[in-house]
Subunit: 196 residues, 2 copies
DNA sequence: CGCAACGTAGCACGACCGTACTACCATGAG
DNA sequence: CTCATGGTAGTACGGTCGTGCTACGTTGCG
């Protein structure tokens, strides 16, 4: 038997090369050729692991989801103070280059979903993850008696999710219209108004 | 002198055809050929008005901006009650098919800006417009004594803008995760908390 | 009427696209 | 050692891409 490669790791490398192409030249510049060149392999070799362009785009989008969920899983859900809650929530915000890239790529690919059906199913997953993240934070805090009484947790989850997405959106783009600290401050003020 | 056409109107028609292609097949499907076919003209004819692909994309993006600003201008800035303010603000939210399409296209094109420099300069304009819209609403209400005292209007503008973008984001996509009424209710609650 | 202009259509070119297919190489089980 | 096997590279094909260019109506001023 010849040398075996880890297909999953390979897929991730190629997906990362795809990220780079998207970030530097836009989704329109993605082709099996450009991505293979970016990854430093031949087209034939790329297609041995990712046979079609749709599969390549799907792998790139799946990588966004994997990275995000891995980050969430690594963070302990230890919520005793408001600062803990803020830290947990800011984990879902694009506050560093890595997460900014991740979200930019996700947005770009989501916009292309109309032309590539395999992307459509991957579109909603991170959104659901963020919502359930908001829900966990609020429910945990509420259960610990950290929040005011009489809050509609469902409505508060939606509101927090909306706020988080708005912040994320403003944190993106070359001209950062919102500083990291300002985003954190807005989140803190929002939570403070609901704190016990 | 032969028949003259209105170049601006023509550009708008072609840009609209470009919108349709983007909405149905993604930005990746945009080419001078597909858009010309969608508009029902020949490639040569299209290129007589929009000589390059970059120009075509830019025209499509500019149309987003024009439509939005036209809508804003049509709405009178008559702010006497909270309902007026809500109405003014919801004007900037994608609450009908037209505005949803408009924003979807804008997002898709903004994501492609990396590969088409002419789009980059058009990216920030609507964002600025929305921010100044928020500012006008808040300042007008504050000047009329409708808002609580001691509000930091600058920070409130940013917060309102973030909230509006978050709502807009949630109003998009095939699976509408937020109903029109829910969005309006969130906006109303936000303003109510700041009302005199 | 005639002709200069403007709009329209279409072809040609070189480049790049996605994909299929084949030849080659390195490897490790037997 | 040998050889089947999985990985890599390269070529080829039919098609579409952006763009330059030319030829052809069509129109309304002089």
């Amino acid at each position: 038997m010849p040398r075996l490669i880890d297909h999953d790791q390979r897929r991730a490398e190629l997906a990362e090369a795809c990220w780079r192409v998207i970030a530097e030249r836009g989704v329109g510049a993605v082709s099996v050729r450009t991505v293979a060149a970016e990854a430093g392999v031949s087209v034939g070799s790329l297609r041995h692991v990712l046979p079609t362009k749709g599969g390549l785009l799907a792998a790139a989008m799946r990588l966004c989801l994997e990275r995000a969920t891995a980050r969430f899983a690594a963070h302990s859900p230890d919520l005793r103070t408001r600062a803990d809650a803020i830290n947990w929530l800011t984990e879902m915000l694009p506050l560093d280059a890595e997460r900014r890239l991740e979200m930019t790529i996700h947005l770009a690919l989501a916009a292309e979903a109309a032309g590539h059906p395999e992307l459509a199913s991957l579109r909603a997953a991170p959104d659901d993850a963020v919502r359930s993240g908001c829900e966990v934070v609020l429910r945990t805090c509420a259960a610990a008696g950290l929040l005011r009484d009489g809050l509609d947790l469902d409505a508060e989850t939606t509101l927090l999710h909306v706020l988080l997405d708005g912040l994320a959106f403003h944190l993106l783009g070359p001209a950062a219209r919102l500083s990291d600290d300002a985003a954190r401050a807005i989140l803190d003020a929002h939570l403070a108004a609901r704190w016990a």
